[in-house]
C-alpha cells in the first residue's frame, strides 16, 4: 500500500491532498501530540478512502478523537449530496445513535459525598448492565414497533420521564421517516428484551461533579454551577442497531457490486441516497435511532428513581433535569449554506457530535443565545466536558465536533498491560467508585487505553468548532 501524504495546514488542521480516486481532500483536526498517537494506525488511510465515495462534499473529515475504525474512521464526518451522494451503514457504525445524555441536579457534591458509594451500588443493582443484559420489560413485537416510530416520546408516554425531557433531546428524541417494515424480524427480536439496558464495553453511567467553568454565560444557560452533581449516560441502540447495520451492510455489499461502483474497502458499502436501498436504510436507521433514544430515556428515568430511593429525598429536592442528549453515531439530513446557497445534505457522523451554532432553529429556546450543548465523555473515571456549538462548526465541519477521547490502545493490549493491576482499586484511589459486570471490562477500559480528553477538547476549542463551557470530574461509575 502506498503511503498517505499528510500536510500540516495550521496548528489544528492537517490536509490529505486528493490522489487517485479521491474526489475531495481529507481534513484532519488534531494537534502535534495527538498526530503522534496515530502512528501506525490506519485511520488517515480511512479518511482518504471515504473521500472516494460518490457525492461527497467539501472534505472527508476526521475529528481529533480519530482512530482506526472499520470502513470510516472513528471520529469521521462526511456530508453527501442528496441527488448524487450515498449513504453508508459503515459511516454510521454498528451502534446506531450511540449517544450521551447529561442530567443536572440541585445537589451539591459536599451534601452527598458520603453517600456516593451507596448510590453507585444502588445504580448498579437497578440499571441492567453487561453482556447480553436484559431489561425488565418484555415488549410485544407490535409495541416495539411503536418504540421504533416514536423514540423517546414512547418512553415518556409510558411514564418514563416528562415532556420537558423531549425538548432537551437532539431532534426531540425522534427521527422522522422511521419505517419498521424496513427493519428485519431478527433485528426486532434482538431488540425485544434489551430496551432499558446500558450494554457493555465503553458504555457507562457516571455520577460527575462540575469542577471548572470556562464560559459563565453558556454555563448559566445550560444550568451548570460549580460543585453541582450531574449524571452522564452513554448508551445506544443495543442489539437492534447492530442487526440493522449488519443486515444493510450485507445487502449493500451485494448492491454496490451489482451497480458497479468501485469502493476501496467492502466495509464502505453504500447505496445512493436516491435509491430504494438508500431510502430503506435511512428508514431502518431512523428506527434504530428512535430505539436508542427510548433506551436512554428509560435509563434516565430509573436513575431518577434510584437517586430518590438511595438518598431518601423527593424528586423536587433532587431536581434531576435533562440538560441535553446528543447522538454520536448517526447520519442526518440537514441544511447548510454551501458556496452561498442553501443546500440539503446527508451528514454522516461516526464518533462525532453535532455542534449547532447560537440561534439555530433546532435548539431549545433557552440554549439559542449560546449554542447547542455538546457532551464529550472522557475515558473511565476522567469525567466529561460540556461544550457549545459554534458558527465556525456550522460553516466548516457541517456543524460537527469530536465525540470523546478515542482509543489509542486495543482492548487486548490494554488487558495485557493491566493484567496484574486492580483497576477498581486504582480508580478508588483517584476518588472514583467504579462497579462493572464484566470480568475484563475495567482492564480493557483503563485510562491509558484512551487519548487524553483534555488534549482532544483543546483542539476543537482552538480550532473554533466548539467552545469549552465546563469540565466535570467523575466520582462514581457503573459499567457493563
Amino acid at each position: 500500500m502506498s503511503e498517505i501524504k499528510i500536510e500540516k495546514l495550521d496548528e489544528c488542521r492537517w490536509i490529505i491532498p486528493p490522489v487517485g480516486g479521491m474526489r475531495v481532500p481529507g481534513l484532519i483536526y488534531s494537534s502535534r501530540e495527538l498526530m503522534g498517537d496515530i502512528g501506525t494506525d490506519e485511520s488517515p488511510r480511512q479518511v482518504a478512502n471515504v473521500a472516494h465515495l460518490p457525492g461527497i462534499l467539501g472534505y472527508s473529515m476526521a475529528m481529533p478523537n480519530m482512530h482506526w475504525g472499520y470502513g470510516f474512521p472513528i471520529g469521521g464526518v462526511a456530508a453527501f449530496d442528496m441527488a448524487e451522494g450515498i449513504i453508508s451503514p459503515g459511516g454510521v457504525g454498528y451502534d446506531i445513535n450511540c449517544g450521551v445524555r447529561l442530567m443536572t441536579t440541585k445537589l451539591d457534591y459536599q451534601e452527598i459525598k458520603s453517600e456516593v458509594a451507596d448510590l453507585v451500588g444502588a445504580l448498579f443493582r437497578h440499571i441492567p448492565t453487561g453482556v447480553g443484559s436484559k431489561g425488565s420489560l418484555r415488549l410485544s413485537a407490535g409495541e416495539e414497533k411503536k418504540v421504533l416510530c416514536s423514540g423517546a416520546g414512547w418512553a415518556v408516554e409510558h411514564g418514563y420521564g416528562t415532556p420537558q425531557d423531549l425538548e432537551a433531546t437532539e431532534d426531540g428524541g425522534v427521527m422522522e421517516g422511521a419505517d419498521p417494515a424496513c427493519v428485519s424480524e431478527r433485528a426486532v427480536e434482538r431488540g425485544r428484551e434489551q430496551l432499558g439496558t446500558l450494554g457493555s464495553g465503553n458504555h457507562f453511567l457516571e455520577i460527575e461533579v462540575v469542577e471548572e467553568i470556562f464560559d459563565d454565560d453558556a454555563a448559566a444557560a445550560f444550568g451548570l454551577a460549580l460543585n453541582q452533581v450531574c449524571v452522564v449516560i452513554h448508551s445506544g441502540s443495543r442489539g437492534l442497531g447492530y442487526q440493522v447495520c449488519d443486515d444493510y451492510l450485507a445487502r449493500m455489499v451485494k448492491h454496490i457490486h451489482d451497480i458497479g461502483v468501485p469502493i476501496p474497502d467492502r466495509q464502505l458499502a453504500c447505496a445512493y441516497l436516491a435509491s430504494n436501498e438508500g431510502r430503506e436504510y435511512l428508514s431502518a436507521m431512523a428506527c434504530a435511532a428512535n430505539y436508542a433514544w427510548a433506551n436512554r430515556q428509560m435509563l434516565m428515568h430509573w436513575t431518577r428513581e434510584t437517586f430518590e430511593k438511595a438518598l431518601k429525598r423527593s424528586p423536587r429536592d433532587i431536581g434531576m433535569r435533562l440538560l441535553y442528549d446528543v447522538c454520536h453515531n448517526i447520519a442526518k439530513i440537514e441544511h447548510f449554506i454551501i458556496d452561498g446557497r442553501n443546500k440539503t445534505v446527508c451528514v454522516h457522523r461516526k464518533g462525532a457530535t453535532r455542534a449547532f451554532p447560537p440561534g439555530h432553529a433546532a435548539l431549545p429556546e433557552r440554549y439559542r443565545p449560546v449554542g447547542q450543548p455538546v457532551l464529550i465523555p472522557g475515558d473511565m473515571g476522567s469525567g466529561s466536558y460540556v461544550l457549545a456549538g459554534t458558527e465556525k462548526a456550522f460553516s466548516e465541519t457541517f456543524g460537527s465536533t469530536c465525540h470523546g477521547a478515542g482509543r489509542v490502545m486495543s482492548r487486548s493490549q490494554a488487558l495485557k498491560i493491566s493484567r496484574k493491576r486492580s483497576v477498581g482499586r486504582e480508580m478508588a484511589a483517584r476518588g472514583v467508585i467504579v462497579m462493572a459486570k464484566g470480568k475484563g471490562t475495567l482492564n480493557e477500559e483503563i485510562p491509558e487505553a484512551y487519548k487524553n480528553i483534555d488534549q482532544v477538547v483543546d483542539v476543537v476549542h482552538r480550532a473554533g468548532i466548539s467552545k469549552k463551557v465546563a469540565r466535570l470530574r467523575s466520582v462514581g461509575c457503573i459499567k457493563g
Binding site: 447492530y242 450485507a250 487486548s412
Partner: protein
Amino acid sequence: MGGVVRNRGHRIYRVFDHTADLGLEIYGSDVGDLFAHAARALFDNIADLDTVEGVIMRDISVSGADLQDLFINYLRALLGWFHDEDFIVRDVTIHAITGTHVAGTATGERFDPRTHTIRHEIKAVTYHMAEVAEVPSGWRGRVILDV
C-alpha cells in the same frame, strides 16, 4: 500480534491488534480447514471453550458472492446463532466448500451463565480488511470483529 493459539499442535489463529476492535488471523491447511478453524477462533473469543461441550449438533449452509464474502457470511451466520439462540459453537466440520458455498456441521451447546465464562461481547463480524488467501503454508483468513 498475540501468540498463536494451537489445537493438538495445529496452528488455529492469532489475535492482531486493532485499536477499537479485535482482529483475528486464522490459518488452515486447506480452505475447509480454514473455515473450521475460523469458527473455533470466533467462539474462542466469545467464551472459554474448555467449559463448552459439543452436545448439540446442527447443520450450517451459507452462500456468498466470492470466497471473501462467503467467509464473512459464514462467520456472521455462526455469530447469529449466539445472538439469537445463545448457541455456542465448539467445533465445525466442513463437508463441502466451493468459492461461493459452504456446508458443514457444528457442535456446541446453549450458553449457560452458571457453567460458561464469557470472554468478549462480539457484536458483529465486519468486512473491514477481510481477507482469504492462499499462502505458502496453506490458507490464511483475516477478519475484524466489532466488540
